[in-house]
Amino acid sequence: MFRTEQMEINMGPQHPSTHGVLRIKLRLDGERVVDSWPVIGYLHRGIEKLAESREYIKITPYTDRTDYVNAMSGNLAYLGAVEKLCGIQVPEKAHYIRVIMVELNRIASHLLWLGTHALDLGAMSIFLYGFREREMILDLFEAYCGARLTYNAFRISGVPADLPPGWAEECRGFLRLFRERHREYEQILTKNRIWLRRTKGVGVMDAEQCLALSVTGPVLRAAGVARDLRKDESYAIYDRLDFEVPLAQAGDTYARYEVRMAEMLQSARMVEQCLDQMPAEGDLMSMKGRKMRPKKDEEVYFAIEGPRGEQGVYLISDGTDRPYRCKLRNSSFANLQALAPMIQGELVADVVAVIGTLDIVLGDSDR
């Protein structure tokens, strides 16, 4: 007689759409996912351990390499923790430059998400459109700090340099263009019936479950929880900026798409406000020397709202110039926990949709 069998299939670490080196073991019934086990660690470099043997000042470049799609936020989270640990004040102008860079990087990161997410669902053009605009942001970063991926753009107690001449105008020009292009993306995707069918009701996770799994960022906000550290625990100069926290209620892939799309526009708004408000003159770094010795047995936790969610750094000092422990609370690791419940009972095609919508970076989750 006929009988059916469940099939175990291995997705990744080499697979076109597991966004790096994620591996998922799937147990399938036909094309339906019965069970799944995400396996991580293929990009583990021991950054937390390495940090223990480096001086505070030398750890910043490592933070670039955790979430390499979004290195500015990595820098900011770490430096914020060190500054909190040592009680360092950051000059106002440096704050503005930091926020400009971090928000631009958020747009770049969301563009990469949009591109790869759409590519996973088969919409190839959006991927290249997204990269076209991301390239412009990278050009701006290159003009500021010389790097295009791992920036190391900030220093403890400030930033190393002022914005180059003409940078602000170029940035404003980009933001104007970006708003136009953003409308273009929406035209291609938002009302596209296939896109709606592929995203609505796929990978649903409600607020309660998100909170239970400590999922943060756009995934949480798409489930209707207005949690944004930039508003709730304002740091740097976010309290002086006028912006909204985009929310959606459905908690599905489409809701997360909506939230991220809206966030890009909010970030563009913030950058413009920063460029308007930023003082023309002012100190860039408050600390002159290189050596720093925080008090013994001091513990701090500092978190910022990264593009993927809460991006925190937990530092313990032992009184030397190196941290005793440097724990990175990176959002990809926490958000990845939502993967298995989200794809339970969905089809194989939805697995890639959900991986895309979680916007994970494996360098970020493996560290």
Binding site: I9, M124, Y129, I194, R197, L347, A349, V351
Partner: protein
């Protein structure tokens, strides 16, 4: 008698050779144009290194495929594995046997040469039936690989192609009712006599046919059997070298077949636009340049090529625009939308034809 037979055999063999060569040459051109056109749509350049503006890129790719090591997985069913690319390739080429490329015959060396290999009175049925055989190539290729992703791809394609055959065939019925014949040449002749292309009364038919045709040829947004981001490469994951190349060629040859059938049935085959309006006769430019039958012969080929290319362009356009359907949604579109629509189309066409028919005396 026997001399005539031999001449006929030679003639038909040469013709088959010419058509096969042209199709085989069209495929690299199509791939190049696809890369260039989609490159343009995606704000990038496309191939540009091999030859001037990259025109030799596909030739280089083909050579590379020929020179690559031929890998057959240890656990594969070797006979079926070798057979599968042929099962999909041969029907794709055989379908060209009944497609008329132009309307006028020319005389070479005292032999009348028709611009089609053969004109049988079941031409359209022949195309439909022969192109259905290609499905087995995909299913068997996916199964014989003895690997999980190809298996999923093969299963998907089996379901997909079976469900899209139905609306595809039913959509063609509407056109057939207007033409009153299944001979491919007869269909175009009917359009010339009626003085209109059949897409005018058959808009729904064209749409259904083309959507089902895209699904039949496994092109985006229905490219589920090889969905790269889901199934790596679907049914041909384990294929490499020229065996993979054969799948690739078959896919593009099938695209030409689907476009050629759409052109013949709905867009007047080799006819120029508005075939009955004499004032537009200048559109057949070759008629004025070349003497005798050669003028209409080449004009026909010209218009046929233009129309087929337009369809192929739409293929590329769709691919650059749309995301991919999901397996179950694809089934829903096929069975819940296209099938009822194509049945309704037949009904409406029938009523319309009855109404238009002159009352029996």
């Amino acid at each position: 008698m026997s001399a005539e037979l031999i001449t006929n055999l030679v003639l038909i063999t040469v013709k088959i050779g010419v058509v096969l060569t042209l199709v085989a040459l069209a495929v690299p051109l199509m791939i190049l144009m696809e890369r260039k056109i989609i490159g343009f749509m995606q704000a990038r350049i496309g191939p540009k290194r091999v030859g001037p503006s990259g025109v030799l890129q596909t030739i280089a790719d083909g050579l590379k495929l020929l020179l690559k090591e031929d890998i057959i997985p240890d656990k594969a069913d070797k006979t079926v594995f070798r057979l599968a690319p042929l099962i999909i390739l041969i029907p794709a080429f055989v379908a060209f046997a009944v497609i008329p490329f132009s309307g006028t015959s020319v005389t070479i060396l005292g032999q009348e040469i028709t611009p089609w290999i053969t004109d049988v009175n079941i031409g359209l049925l022949f195309v439909i039936s022969i192109s259905s055989v290609g499905v087995f190539g995909i299913v068997l290729g996916g199964w014989a690989s003895n690997s999980k992703y190809p298996l999923l791809g093969g299963l998907r394609s089996a379901a997909q192609m079976v469900s899209y055959e139905v609306p595809l065939g039913l959509a063609l019925v509407g056109g057939l009712m207007w033409a009153g014949t299944a001979s491919m040449v007869g269909i175009v002749e009917a359009q010339r006599q009626a003085g209109l292309w059949f897409f005018v009364p058959q808009v729904a038919g064209v749409l259904i046919y083309f959507i089902a045709g895209v699904a039949e040829t496994n092109r985006a947004p229905f490219d589920l059997p090889e969905a790269e981001t889901e199934l790596v490469s679907g049914f041909h994951t384990e294929y490499s070298g020229m065996r993979f190349g054969l799948f690739f060629i078959a896919e593009y040859a099938n695209m030409i077949v689907v476009s050629a059938v759409a052109t013949t049935l709905y867009f007047g085959g080799w006819l120029r636009p508005f075939p009955s309006v004499e004032a537009l006769a200048f559109l057949d430019i070759f008629n004025f340049i070349l003497p005798g039958a050669w003028g209409p012969f080449l004009s026909g080929i010209f218009w046929f090529t233009v129309k087929v290319s337009a369809f192929i362009f739409i293929y590329y356009w769709i691919r650059a625009t749309f995301p991919r359907y999901r397996y179950d949604q694809l089934m829903a579109v096929g069975w819940k939308w296209l099938l009822p629509l194509s049945l309704a189309n037949i009904l409406v066409t029938g009523v319309l034809l009855l109404w238009l028919q002159p009352a029996p005396a």
